[in-house]
């Protein structure tokens, strides 16, 4: 599989260069090809694990298509809540750090979950522990500190999709 990884990385980098320069001038293209070839040789080992067949599995694609909508909905709800806390004269917040266990096992999945939790205002991942993966999350309005309940309230909206995408 390693034979296709270098060209794939190169093509992604070159496409990014074309988008950033927004011109098809030969000079730009040649410079872009040289730069992206150099970066691809240096860094291709970090990207693109696994086979193409498994990557483009239809179920995975379906989850990847549905994820942005679920994500946007969660984002809108969290924004409304935090804006309410900011504008409320007495600020009825109960902040605290809680432990959120997760069912995800792959590195990409846990990174995606931590990023999604941090991106929604109101929850902020402070630390990650490796043994039976769980996140320490700063939560602006702590309802419960029981691990099962926190998982239900914080991680569940993203976890289903990320498990479908990254396993």
């Amino acid at each position: 599989m390693s034979s296709a990884r270098l060209p794939a990385t190169f093509l992604c980098l070159w496409a990014t260069w074309m988008i950033l320069t927004t011109s098809l001038d030969p000079q730009e293209l040649v410079v872009g090809a040289v730069v992206s070839a150099f970066i691809a040789v240096v860094s291709y080992e970090f990207l693109f694990h696994g086979g193409m067949r498994q990557k483009l599995h239809p179920k995975r694609l379906a989850y990847a298509m549905a994820y942005p909508f679920a994500y946007t909905w969660a984002e809108i709800k969290a924004h409304a809540k935090v804006i309410y806390y900011i504008l409320h004269p007495r600020m009825p917040i109960k902040p605290g750090i809680v432990r959120v266990p997760t069912e995800l096992r792959s590195d990409f999945g846990i990174t995606g979950l931590a990023n999604a939790i941090t991106m929604t205002p109101g929850t902020l991942s402070v630390d990650v522990v490796g043994e039976e993966p769980s996140l320490y999350v700063h939560w602006i309005n702590v309802d419960t500190t029981e691990p099962d309940q926190t998982n239900m309230k914080i991680a569940r909206p993203f976890e289903r999709f990320l498990r479908g995408i990254f396993g």
């Binding site: 924004h79 935090v82 804006i83 917040i93 750090i97 432990r99 941090t118 991106m119």
Partner: protein, 108 residues
């Protein structure tokens, strides 16, 4: 038509930016301020960039603006997480009225 959409996006972005800035000023400790910072970046900056990108119609300008929005979207959680982790490791206490600190209990 596209101008109306652009102005709606700009309006949402401006509202989120000013509210988030008020939040950064009002909230009591670092961790809560990072929540307000997320409001400024996600609700404010990304909507402003997208709205300004389509203000003059769809063109190369829009593509670049979308790239900037994507970059903000990808890097913002990483830096928020880094600052929060550094603050907790360097021993900055939570707001005294905080409810729980499981991470501190775990360390002990």
């Amino acid at each position: 038509m596209i101008e109306i959409i652009a102005y709606v996006l700009l309006g949402i972005g401006t509202a989120c930016a000013i509210i988030g800035a008020i939040g950064i000023l009002r909230f009591p400790d670092v961790y809560n301020r990072i929540h307000a910072n997320t409001v400024v970046v996600v609700g404010g900056a990304i909507f402003l960039v997208l709205g300004a990108g389509i203000l003059g119609g769809i063109s190369a300008f829009t593509v670049k603006a979308v790239v900037i929005a994507l970059f903000l979207f990808l890097t913002s959680p990483v830096s928020s997480h880094a600052i929060a982790r550094a603050a907790h490791k360097s021993g900055i206490k939570l707001w005294p009225k905080s409810v729980a600190d499981k991470l501190e209990e775990e360390k002990r």
